[in-house]
């Protein structure tokens, strides 16, 4: 493993503890399988994807030292480079660059914040003319952002928010323009950029097929404002599956990923409406528990007062007091007979 500079110690992207985890998913496998010649895998990819690369000349670029060591152990024949893209100066360009995770995790906390545009330029400099680029790009207008609660902030979010990056093109047509290379295919990845289960070539698939795939793919999305399956199917029927895709994967050569329906998953998403119902139920339970608590408290206080009075009566001064009171009562009864 070579340390380039800007490598991050005490850090891992692959373990998923500091961020969303590496880009992964069986549906993506045909893409790295198409790699040829001198190949670079840039950024955190699930090793199951890297395993699919069959060329002999493999280079891996990763920013966490622990990840670099793990990759070096798993791929002893590969050249593992640990650090940021800004510090990577290979001797030769690459025939294939696999960057399905996107560009955000090619920089590190140690280095300067390059921005999406500059990072893209650096990456393109490493590609041979006519080479194969597999690039993932997150869509900030994607369904995953429109209908879910904002994700929790993680250790990976040390940079300014990516949406505010002025060098980042917004929308698929601007991304294609900025790339500057002929784009052979665009796949829309659902339901999330890091773990897609459906990869749709919307230019070639029928809307019905898209709707069917999305209905299944979006079943696993959680913490949603409304049922994602319905809205995704509606988007597909309106021909908007690409515009609302959580991420796009652009390829500069014609790599066909065969269409497949994601597996059926039995899952009930937590919609906000359900969360509200649950919250109201818990609030009701809490109110009842409080009322009970107050009632028990009052009862205890009453019992304690009664106990105190009884103890007082059992003592001598108390007895005298009570005895005197009783004697006085007897006198009164003789004086004023009950009648």
């Amino acid at each position: 493993m070579r340390l380039l500079g800007d490598e991050m110690l005490c850090w891992s992207d692959l373990d998923g503890e500091h961020g969303p985890g590496p880009v992964r998913g069986a549906v993506l496998q045909p893409l790295p399988a198409a790699a040829y010649g001198r190949t670079l895998v840039a950024g955190p990819h699930d090793p199951a994807l890297t395993d699919r690369i069959s060329t002999g000349d493999l280079s891996l670029l990763i920013r966490g030292v622990a990840d670099g060591e793990a990759l070096a152990a798993r791929y002893p024949e590969a050249a593992v480079h640990c650090g940021s893209l800004g510090r990577f100066r290979p001797a030769e360009r690459f025939d294939t660059i696999v960057a399905l995770d996107g560009l955000e995790r090619l920089g590190s906390a140690e280095g300067a914040e390059l921005g999406w545009g500059r990072t893209l330029d650096l990456l393109l400099d490493l590609l041979r003319p006519g080479g194969l680029l597999l690039l993932g790009v997150e869509n900030f207008l994607g369904l995953h952002r429109l209908i879910t609660l904002p994700p929790a902030v993680t250790d990976s979010d040390f940079a300014p928010p990516a949406e505010d990056d002025p060098t980042r093109p917004a929308g698929l047509s601007r991304v294609r323009e900025r790339l500057g290379l002929p784009v052979a295919r665009v796949y829309s990845a659902y339901p999330s950029p890091q773990a897609p289960t459906a990869l749709l070539d919307t230019a070639r698939l029928s809307r019905e097929d898209q709707a069917a795939a999305l209905a299944r793919a979006c079943a696993t999305v959680d913490d949603v404002l409304m049922d994602p399956r319905r809205i995704a199917a509606v988007a597909a029927r309106h021909g908007a599956a690409a515009e609302l895709a959580p991420a796009w994967i652009l390829t500069t050569q014609d790599i066909a990923v065969p269409f497949s329906l994601p597996e059926v998953v039995e899952h009930r998403p937590h919609a906000v409406r359900e969360l509200i119902i649950e919250r109201d139920r818990l609030a009701q339970e809490l109110a009842e528990a409080r009322a009970k608590h107050l009632w028990y408290e009052q009862m205890l206080v009453n019992r304690e007062t009664a106990l105190k009075r009884a103890r007082l009566a059992a003592t001598t001064p108390g007895q005298a007091l009570l005895g005197g009171a009783r004697a006085a009562k007897r006198v009164l009864r003789r004086v004023r007979p009950r009648g």
């Binding site: 800007d6 991050m8 906390a109 140690e110 250790d155 040390f158 940079a159």
Partner: protein, 274 residues
């Protein structure tokens, strides 16, 4: 709040910058980074309350601190950078002379194991002009060590006590250091440390060379001297590219991110102090 906020008179420097009396600065609402750091900005061995606001010198340290799980991080810049900005050089034209050398030191808890004589030979061989050696108070106290450097023909000084646990506080520490640095043309050490960055910002030509020495029980979590050399190559060598080194010093000391006094007062929790 934390006793380390008063190290080297940092809190006093900030108080003066904010227009307060410097000798008894109010409590800082947070933990102020007290030295140049390749970790999350805090001292690995210090205890502090989780959720404490962490006040850091540089954007780079803030990014690193965030990636290590710290969330309440704010970049305020270093007290040194505020001092250099406030105390303009009274005689900028005065000819600086010689080198001020900071041999890498341990601190009260760890000791340095290494060859002082070897270092002395290397200093004599490398430095063209007169050499001032600045020792940490713990080493300055050792007459034997002082004499070794004096016998080599160096002028031996100390900037004062760092201060700790609210004892031996010295608000003038950094002022003395600044005055000394401004008298010298070069600043050097055998390890890249705060003093080298301070000197670079104060207009000295920085240099890092010689045996970096071995610190007892050194914390290697962030890669140690090997990583520092790899990550900050602009500051290493007997003669460096001065403008490039200056830019790095500006970034590491947050000199490009200094806050106006009102904003700093708010962040430090000093709005109500007079």
């Amino acid at each position: 709040m934390h006793h380390a906020n008063h190290y080297y008179g940092h809190s006093s420097v900030l108080a003066r910058y904010c227009g307060l009396e410097g000798d008894d600065p109010p409590r800082v609402h947070g933990y102020l980074q007290h030295g140049w750091n390749i970790g999350d900005g805090l001292a690995a061995d210090h205890e502090f309350v989780p959720g404490t606001p962490v006040l850091l010198w540089s954007e780079r340290t803030r990014r690193r601190a965030w990636s290590l799980g710290r969330r309440r991080t704010t970049v305020v810049g270093s007290p040194w950078a505020y001092l250099v900005r406030q105390d303009q050089d009274p005689d900028p034209g005065v000819r600086r002379d010689g080198t001020i050398w900071y041999p890498f030191h341990g601190w009260e808890g760890q000791h340095v194991v290494g060859d002082h004589d070897g270092l002395i030979d290397e200093i004599r061989a490398t430095e063209p002009g007169p050499v001032t050696v600045c020792l940490y108070w713990q080493e300055f106290r050792s007459a034997r060590l002082r004499r070794r450097y004096e016998r080599a023909g160096f002028r031996v000084i100390c900037h004062g006590y760092r201060g700790g646990w609210w004892e031996n506080l010295d608000p003038q520490f950094l002022h003395r250091q600044l005055a000394e640095l401004r008298r010298h043309r070069r600043v050097a050490s055998n390890r890249l440390c705060s003093a080298v960055f301070y000197g670079a910002l104060a207009g000295c030509e920085p240099a890092v060379y010689g045996d970096p020495m071995h610190l007892e029980r050194e914390n290697m979590t962030f890669g140690g001297t090997e990583r520092i050399r790899r990550q900050w190559p602009e500051l290493h060598g007997a003669a460096v590219d001065v403008p490039a080194a200056y830019e790095v010093a500006v970034a590491e000391l947050g000199a490009d991110r200094l806050l106006p006094p009102d904003e700093l007062r708010t962040i430090l929790g000093w709005e109500n102090a007079r």
